[in-house]
């Protein structure tokens, strides 16, 4: 297993959000998380990347215990988290944003090559490279955000709701790009509300409810949209 989250609890102040959640992600695997808002998907990613400390449980990445490791050291292991809501550095240019993605020593020397690949994946970013990030459209900002993540040369890439709030056409564009990234063989955790996107990219899904995994699909199992609806709403809804 590349990433193992075992029985992790975490929360904000005294309000618990994660209640003993466990997930596993194998090398090269693409895993989707879905479930209602406010049930801990984002908190789980924030805890894995070290922005939050678990109050209980254990997280290991590539055989190393990273439960209490600082975010910068987690990044330098190649575990890259792209935040929800395309949070960039608003008063910096697109190019500066993307270059900062390669800040860690591991990725800095390869930044020129990676930049060329990223411009190929998102040509619009090349056109906009001198523009301030805050002047981009929502879809472009999301692309820049993912590009920043890719510049860190991820071993495991975690994308938190990359298609949130985007128009259908932009969503499709982004979905294509995410599929292309998935095809490069990078291990991926994808959180999204768009089940179709999850099904097209991921081999396995976790349903996260009330801070824990309430259902998961097995490896190699074919999943359809109906199966997912059934997981979500029970038998009656899909019938």
């Amino acid at each position: 297993m590349l990433l193992k989250v075992e029985d992790v609890s975490a929360g904000y102040g005294r309000i618990p959000v994660l209640n003993g959640i466990s997930i596993e992600v194998g090398r090269g695997e693409r895993v989707g998380l879905f479930g209602p808002n406010g049930h801990g998907k984002t908190t789980l990613l924030r805890t894995i990347s070290g922005l939050m400390r678990p109050t209980h449980g254990r997280i290991t990445f590539d055989g190393r215990d990273i439960t209490t490791t600082a975010p910068k050291d987690i990044v330098s292991l190649g575990l890259i988290h792209v935040l929800q809501g395309n949070t960039l550095f608003p008063r910096m240019t697109v190019l500066e944003n993307v270059l900062l993605g390669a800040y860690s020593k591991r990725a800095w020397d390869d930044r020129e090559e990676n930049l060329a690949r990223i411009y190929e994946l998102f040509p619009i970013l090349k056109q906009r490279s001198r523009q301030l990030a805050r002047t981009l459209s929502g879809g472009q900002r999301q692309m820049a955000s993912i590009a920043t993540g890719l510049m860190g040369m991820p071993v495991l890439l975690m994308l938190d709701e990359p298609t949130l709030g985007l128009a259908p056409k932009v969503k499709d564009e982004l979905a294509t790009a995410i599929s292309e990234i998935a095809e490069t063989g990078v291990t991926m955790i994808l959180v999204d509300q768009d089940i179709e996107l999850l099904l097209s990219v991921c081999e396995r899904l976790y349903l996260v409810e009330r801070g824990r995994v309430s259902l998961e699909t097995r490896r190699g199992e074919k999943i359809s949209q109906e199966d997912v609806l059934e997981m979500y709403f029970g038998k009656a809804a899909s019938a």
Binding site: G50, L51, P71, V75, L83, T87, F89, G152
Partner: protein, 291 residues
């Protein structure tokens, strides 16, 4: 128009000094989100360190050595100040109020310490250069000319560093989005130490320049700190261009007011201008709203 040259030269000299001190305050606010009330005391320490190394009655190593010693001492001192009285409170509830208290306490401690170590006698650094230059009807000393040129040049170099260097980019990243800065692998705690060291160095430069122009006393940093405070609020907290523009505008208003209205009424006039600006633009001239 006989008054124009003296008013302008006085405004440029104090503007440069305010800009140096206020940039440090504003820079610390923008990145660490705390207000450093010990910044004036750092200026004072810079002046004393330079005096002890320079003065023939002490080390007598000359002004060049004194200036250098002040820069290194304050880079180190700024970092230690952060580690000792700021870092322990970062991330706690009410950390901003706690840090107001700890930096105020540090300022008092340093001022009384200076009084105790150096004694009450006024001290003076030699001038960086001697001689005068005549501008229309006003003689500007070489010292003043150096202040007028050195202040903005240093801040320009600082701005270029922030814009171009990898570390400069990281500092701006921390200022703009802390979580995202963490997630690209920036060591934010180190950045805070660097930010404190750099702003202390700016204070040290201002201290050495003040010390050659005015007297060195334990409370010499109080008035500059008050002016720097007015400047950063006026220009917009966290904005380097706003701080520099604010510094020269405040210095100009002060200079005009001193000439035509007098020394006594100038501070209330400065505060009056500040309040008027706050009413129209609560974030200052070029500032942004902070949460």
């Amino acid at each position: 128009m006989n008054a124009l040259a003296p008013i302008l030269s006085a405004a440029l000299v104090s503007g440069s000094l305010y800009a140096l001190l206020a940039s440090g305050l504003s820079f610390v606010w923008g990145t660490v989100r705390i207000f450093n009330f010990a910044q004036g005391a750092l200026l004072m320490i810079g002046a004393y360190v330079a005096w002890y190394v320079t003065d023939p009655s002490r080390a007598g190593a000359g002004l060049g050595a004194g200036f250098t010693a002040a820069l290194f001492a304050l880079a180190f001192g700024g970092a230690v100040l952060y580690l000792a009285i700021v870092r322990p409170f970062i991330g706690r509830a009410n950390s901003d109020l706690m840090v107001i208290m700890t930096t105020l306490a540090a300022a008092t401690f340093f001022e009384n310490g200076a009084d105790w170590v150096a004694g009450p006698r006024y001290k003076n650094l030699p001038r960086l250069a001697t001689g005068n230059i005549q501008f229309s009807n006003t003689a500007v000393s070489m010292q003043e000319l150096i202040i007028i040129i050195l202040g903005p040049s240093l801040l320009l170099a600082f701005a270029v560093f922030l814009k171009r260097a990898k570390l400069g980019m990281a500092i701006r990243a921390v200022e703009q989005n802390r979580d995202a800065a963490f997630l690209v692998g920036i060591d934010i705690r180190n950045i805070y130490v660097i930010v404190f060291a750099v702003s202390a160095v700016l204070a040290a430069v201002a201290g050495v320049l003040y010390g050659g122009e005015y007297f060195i006393t334990p409370t010499m940093g109080d008035d500059p700190l008050l002016k720097a405070f007015i400047v950063v609020v006026f220009g917009g907290l966290g904005s380097l261009p706003g701080t520099v523009v604010g510094a020269y505008m405040i210095a100009l208003i002060e200079s005009v007011s001193r000439y035509y209205i007098g020394l006594y009424y100038t501070p209330p006039i400065l505060f009056g201008v500040l309040i008027a600006v706050m009413l129209v633009r609560p974030t200052g001239l070029l500032g942004r709203a902070y949460q």
